[in-house]
């Protein structure tokens, strides 16, 4: 009985967390395509934090990319400081869930299409991306280097012969 209770509790938390992370998240592309109908409304998106956290006073910007599109999120400085990894060549950025107000032409930010975050959750912490060296590329480089060197030497010797004549 005790075991069942523990398992049920764990299951409840897993389902609760899953519901928290996936409930109602819409694609950024869908949001932008239907900007008029979502304008000024509460929306929820989930995606990777990319590029830079650009802190401006007590607030700042983070751009979120979900594979269908990217959008700027205006949020508190403390929220931005929680983000550990931002997506770039070397890192997969943190996966972030944002709940906030969508503005198709935000009056506070010169008409930008953005989301003013009310809540931000870090769903998955990002990680470093490995870029293993492709040995075939190394081989191609070596072969081409020898060929080019050979061509330069051949060309040089031809011009020397021509000079002597």
């Amino acid at each position: 009985m005790h075991k069942k209770l523990v398992l049920s509790t764990i299951l409840f938390f897993i389902l609760f967390f899953a519901a928290q992370t996936n409930s109602g998240a819409m694609s950024i592309n869908n949001l932008i395509e239907n900007a008029k109908s979502y304008d000024g409304k509460n929306v929820e998106i989930k995606g990777e934090a990319i590029g830079d956290t650009m802190i401006r006073g007590k607030y700042g910007w983070i751009n979120i990319w979900d594979g269908t599109g990217a959008i700027g999120v205006w949020t508190k400085k403390e929220d931005l400081e929680k983000i550990q990894f931002k997506g770039n060549y070397k890192n997969r950025g943190d996966t972030i869930k944002v709940i906030g107000t969508f503005g198709r032409s935000c009056s506070e930010h010169g008409g930008d299409t953005d989301i003013h975050a009310k809540e931000i959750f870090i769903v998955n912490i990002g990680h470093k991306i490995e870029h293993p060296i492709d040995l075939r590329k190394v081989m191609w480089c070596a072969v081409l280097f020898i060929v080019v060197l050979g061509l330069i030497l051949f060309n040089y010797s031809l011009s020397k012969i021509a000079e002597k004549r």
Binding site: I32, E33, A35, K36, I50, G51, D52, T53, M54, I55, R56, G60, W61, N63, W65, G69, A70, I71, G72, W74, G87, N88, Y89, R104, S105, S107, H109, G110, G111, D112, T113, D114, I129, H131, P132, I133, D134, K137, V138, W140, C141, L144, F145, V147, V148, L151, I152, F154, N155, L158
Partner: protein, 499 residues
């Protein structure tokens, strides 16, 4: 009777193409060094392969096809047109090897878009692109903006015998200085001065706006290269919207405008002739064109009630300057043109792109000089109609010096305007054939042929292959302004049908 080109003619052409290809190979060392500096080892191999392959091919052509024959007009034009194709195929190698492209054709599309300073992209997941790859993407725009031939003339070609003939083939007729090589070097000198000022300004703004110092510097270099050369590539998928920064937008507007000015005008300003911009037919036409098109766009945006007050100016004006200068930087999403701008504002943006910037600049499109000449000729004809039959009506315009409007200027301007319109139409028809609505097909086709890069969403890795090829051809035609490509077609016909 058409004369068949001799083997000596082909040798002259291949020898000079080889020389320019060597240049491309050497220039790939810049992204190679970047990737080494940032420990992007896999990327450095991509540039190693691309650079060595270019060097090898270039040396082979250069040494196998040596010729004593002097370079003629047809040689110069064919070298110019074929060098751009060679640059596309070779420049695409490191792009394709990066793994960010669905196919080699997609990489070729972006390479032509880069060299032709268009800015339409098929790259996937650009937000995770390496510094080396971004350096090459933006550097291609810098090279293409100056002109591949200009690069060759500056660093690789000695003597001025055939230089001017190749220079003209790259849609640059004006010799700013008496010697064409001095002209090419001046173009580089002025671009490097702006590179330092522009990069510093953008990097400082990036830093103030919250970017890390090194990223602010890199973004400063890249955004400068694609803004001044009216290209439009960006290191992030949201274009300039990524920065959410009004000062960033202001500086890029300044750089786009500088890039769209004639290098002759830059030279006049360099020589402290401050009055020239106020008398020059190009700057005057550009000013009135921007004002007219922005008014049209503003009315369209007002009808659609997307933006209010300052936001309408900020979004509308930025996109119009971006389109008119031929840059393609965006502070809105691609699909917002369709969903949020409405037909009239889109017509405004399309007209801006079609008109283009100045001649002998890094901009594409019809060019404001030709539009100015067209209107001067129109006024002259109206004056003739209103004057007594015996009256002699002469019209003048000022473009670096006072010039009498002659029939040959009008004919040349009208021919190019007409050819551009035909090219815009060709791309539109192909776009419509694949099911895109008329105004979207027109918008994207004009953007490609005028080397702008604004997109309403048609350009994507999933678009049909023939449409990708059509846009590549349009970008090539638009950048070289037709003459050298027609010369190439003529040369091929003469080779097969000549006697």
């Amino acid at each position: 009777m058409i004369l068949k080109p001799s083997f000596e003619d082909i040798k002259v052409i291949l020898h000079n193409i080889g020389r320019l290809i060597i240049g491309i190979g050497i220039l790939m060392s810049i992204p190679l060094i970047t990737s080494i500096l940032f420990a992007e080892w896999s990327v450095s191999l991509d540039f190693g392969i691309g650079g060595l392959l270019s060097l090898g091919l270039g040396i082979l052509l250069f040494s196998l096809f040596k010729s004593e024959k002097e370079i003629s007009w047809i040689h110069g034009l064919v070298v110019a047109s074929m060098s751009w194709i060679a640059a596309m195929f070779l420049g695409a190698i490191p792009l394709y090897l990066s793994g960010h492209f669905g196919s080699y054709l997609d990489a070729c599309f972006d390479a032509m878009s880069g060299f032709a300073t268009t800015g339409l992209v098929l790259i996937q997941d650009v937000n995770h692109a390496s510094n080396g790859l971004n350096m090459w993407r933006h550097f291609m725009m810098f090279l293409g903006g100056q002109g591949i031939i200009v690069v060759g003339l500056t660093f690789l070609i000695r003597g001025t015998g055939g230089a001017y003939k190749m220079y003209v083939g790259e849609a640059r007729e004006e010799r700013i200085l008496p010697n064409v090589i001095q002209t090419a070097r001046f173009i580089w000198k002025i671009s490097l001065v702006y590179l330092i000022i522009g990069t510093a300004s953008l990097a400082v703004i990036g830093l103030i706006e919250g970017m890390a110092p090194l990223r602010a510097l890199l973004h400063g270099i890249w955004i400068f290269m694609a803004a001044f050369d009216t290209g439009g590539f960006t290191p992030q998928s949201q274009s300039i919207l990524y920065y959410h920064s009004f000062p960033f937008e202001i500086v890029t507007i300044g750089l786009m405008l500088l890039g769209t000015l004639n290098f002759g005008l830059h030279y006049a300003l360099w020589k402290r002739d401050w009055k020239e911009p106020f008398r020059n037919i190009e700057t005057i036409t550009l000013f009135f064109s921007v004002m007219f098109i922005f008014t049209l766009t503003a009315i369209g945006l007002k009808q659609f009630v997307t933006y209010s007050g300052m936001a309408m100016f900020r979004k509308g004006f930025y996109q119009i300057i971006s389109g008119h200068s031929g840059t393609g930087y965006m502070t809105i999403g691609a699909r917002q043109f369709i969903n949020e701008w409405g037909p009239m504002a889109m017509v405004g943006a399309t007209l801006a792109m079609a008109a283009g910037g100045s001649a002998c600049s890094t901009a594409g499109g019809i060019k404001v000089l030709r539009i100015g000449i067209f209107f001067k000729a129109l006024f002259q004809d109206v004056k003739k109609i209103l004057s007594p039959g015996t009256a002699l009506i002469t019209e003048k315009f000022h473009h670096l010096k006072d010039i009498v409007l002659e029939e040959k200027f009008v004919r040349s301007a009208l021919l190019i305007i007409l050819t551009y319109i035909l090219t815009y139409t060709l791309g539109t028809v192909v776009g419509m054939f694949y099911g895109f609505p008329l105004y979207q097909a027109v918008f994207e086709s004009v953007s490609a042929a005028a080397n702008v890069g604004l997109s309403c969403g048609i350009t994507s890795p999933t678009m049909p292959t023939p449409l990708k090829i059509t846009y590549i051809i349009e970008m090539w035609l638009g950048r070289l302004e037709f003459m050298s490509i027609f010369a190439l077609i003529g040369f091929i016909i003469a080779y097969f049908r000549g006697k």
